[in-house]
């Protein structure tokens, strides 16, 4: 793609191209005909419950497993044939990985740095990830969040173009989780591409530019979190506290409204379409209603998941 006719937009070469990959363990189909592209500079999330095939998919893409069928290209390389060339250019954080109990933070980073041709400054990386005062601590003495930060440091030591993060925040408390999200956003800011898996819908929604929903090894849908919500859960809910006795009737007259429930002074208005809220506000203004409280409830990826798969993600 060195030449392109003037006036046409060039779609950048995807960082990851996966086409119809399939992987079975005995009779269990772990990954079934999964296809997706990951674009440069985005945070792409593979989301689904535990056992959905996320990790297997990621490991196939990262060259740690060989799929039975399908085509995978990562940074223009074949992860199976060129695994060692690929390892120089990617960073990996694996689910439930550990290090030697008594290895020091500094030693682990030093070891990793010695394995790559062009490592970044390990001491600076330790500082950047907030592990400066844990430099000489043994791995076994680190907290869950500190361990994950160390694993992120190890994944970044070779200044990779693409970073794999598998269930990065599982088992962390909310505060540590938020801190890790900031770090991941920082990775994207440095121009790198992030490919992650998570079973936390909130994490996917807040962190990912695009997500692929995967369930029982099959890819269910793919898009930005907002797109997926719009496509599968167009329902909107407005909840307000209003003293106007005729409010219920007036809201029911709006074509997009499907139902209005009244409990005392509180009205719950349910409808479809992104302009439902606008119509409700217009109605309030038109009739000069006195509104004491007003809030909207938007569906989340959690709702999308429930709708697409028929079950909750955590069960």
């Amino acid at each position: 793609m060195t030449e392109c006719p003037a006036g046409t937009t060039v779609t950048p070469q995807p960082v990851i191209h996966a086409a119809a990959i399939r992987k079975t363990y005995g009779r269990t189909v772990a990954v079934d005909e999964v296809s997706f592209d990951v674009q440069p500079g985005e945070i792409f999330g593979l989301i689904g419950p535990n056992g959905a095939g996320k990790t297997t998919t990621m490991e196939c893409v990262g060259g740690l497993r060989v799929p039975d069928r399908g085509l995978i290209s990562v940074l223009g390389l074949d992860p199976r044939r060129d695994v060692y060339a690929l390892q120089e250019r990617i960073g990996v954080q694996l689910q439930e990985a550990q290090l030697q109990k008594r290895i020091k933070v500094r030693e682990a980073v030093g070891l990793w740095a010695s394995l790559y041709r062009k490592p970044v400054d390990g001491d600076r990386l330790i500082e950047q990830l907030g592990l400066g005062d844990k430099r000489n601590a043994w791995f076994m003495t680190l907290s869950g969040g500190q361990k994950q930060r160390l694993f992120i440091a190890l994944a970044l030591i070779n200044d990779p173009e693409l970073v794999f993060l598998d269930e990065l925040t599982t088992g962390l408390d909310p505060q540590a989780r938020r801190a890790i999200w900031e770090l991941v956003r920082g990775i994207r800011q440095r121009g790198k591409t992030v490919f992650l898996t998570t079973h936390l819908m909130e994490e996917a929604e807040r962190l990912c530019d695009r997500v692929a929903i995967i369930d029982h090894g099959r890819l269910v849908d793919i898009g930005t979190p907002a797109e997926l919500v719009r496509r599968h859960c167009p329902e909107r809910t407005v909840i307000m506290v209003c003293e106007d006795a005729a409010a219920g009737e007036r809201f029911r007259a709006i074509p997009q409204v499907q139902s209005v429930t009244i409990e005392g002074l509180q009205l719950t208005i349910r409808g479809v379409g992104s302009d439902l809220v606008t119509h409700v506000i217009q109605c309030v203004a038109e009739h000069r209603m006195r509104v004491n409280d007003f809030r909207t409830e938007l569906p989340t990826l959690e709702d999308v998941f429930l709708k697409l798969t028929g079950h909750m993600i955590r069960d």
């Binding site: 740690l64 060692y84 694996l94 290090l99 030697q100 290895i103 030693e107």
Partner: protein, 249 residues
């Protein structure tokens, strides 16, 4: 390619030193056994008097060597199992480290500890067991390291098969000690029942005992070509099989 080998070996040595119990078990125990036997039996040791079994008189250094080697092999089996179960092997494998680099680093670290233990045992046992009788120490050290490498490959085979770290130590013990029983160290192989003799000839320890004993008592290497060949063949076999069946996670 051996990128990272020295760094990893050095790290593994340091990490091992940080675990006091492991060091005591690997280095301290053989020295302790050697010294205790020496103290209890005193001078009869040196004279090989009829009241003392051969294994505690003439063969005491050989016995001590096997205590060293056995604990080395067992600790390798345990460490591989723990690394696999903890996901450490999985994490190391996702780097440019080649699998054999990781395993070689462990073998080198273990060999170093074997050499240190051997030296410590000889130093501590000097008072009870005279070394002046023209014992070829360098040859013996080489023979012991060679033997240890062969037995470590057996350790790898065991480590490849055991399912979890909890089983590693008992299964390793189950393999190694019976082998020691028929190896000719306690009872000459020739005086064993025919079935056990056949078993003995299929096991590496029998050749290891023959080699170490011969070298210690002044034989040349040429007298033990057969032992060296048998151990080499077994080393290659064990390595090939464990490379095939080795599980990283």
């Amino acid at each position: 390619m051996l990128r990272g080998l020295w760094k990893l070996t050095w790290l593994e040595i340091k990490i091992f030193m940080r675990e006091p119990l492991g060091v005591i078990g690997t280095v301290g125990l053989p020295v302790f056994i050697f010294v205790v036997f020496g103290r209890v039996l005193g001078s009869p040791l040196r004279r090989a008097s009829p009241g003392v079994p051969r294994v505690l008189s003439a063969d005491l250094p050989i016995l001590a060597s096997f205590v060293i080697t056995t604990s080395t092999v067992l600790s390798l089996v345990a460490i591989i199992a723990i690394y696999r179960e903890g996901g450490i092997l999985r994490r190391l494998r996702a780097t440019p480290l080649r699998p054999y680099t990781i395993l070689t680093a462990h073998v080198l670290a273990k060999l170093l500890f074997t050499a240190v233990t051997l030296a410590a045992t000889l130093l501590a046992g000097r008072r009870y067991y005279s070394l002046d009788a023209g014992v070829p120490l360098v040859s013996f050290a080489l023979a012991l390291l060679f033997t240890t490498v062969c037995l470590l490959s057996l350790g790898f085979l065991i480590a490849s098969i055991v399912p979890t770290a909890r089983f590693a130590q008992p299964i390793g013990t189950l393999f190694l000690y019976p082998m020691l029983g028929v190896s000719g160290l306690f009872v000459p192989v020739a005086s064993l029942p025919p079935v056990l003799q056949a078993v003995a000839h299929a096991l590496p320890l029998t050749y290891a005992v023959s080699l170490l004993r011969g070298i210690w008592h002044g034989d040349g290497w040429s007298a033990h070509i057969g032992d060296v060949a048998a151990l080499t063949v077994m080393f290659l076999l064990f390595t090939a099989v464990s490379a095939k069946v080795f599980r990283w996670e």
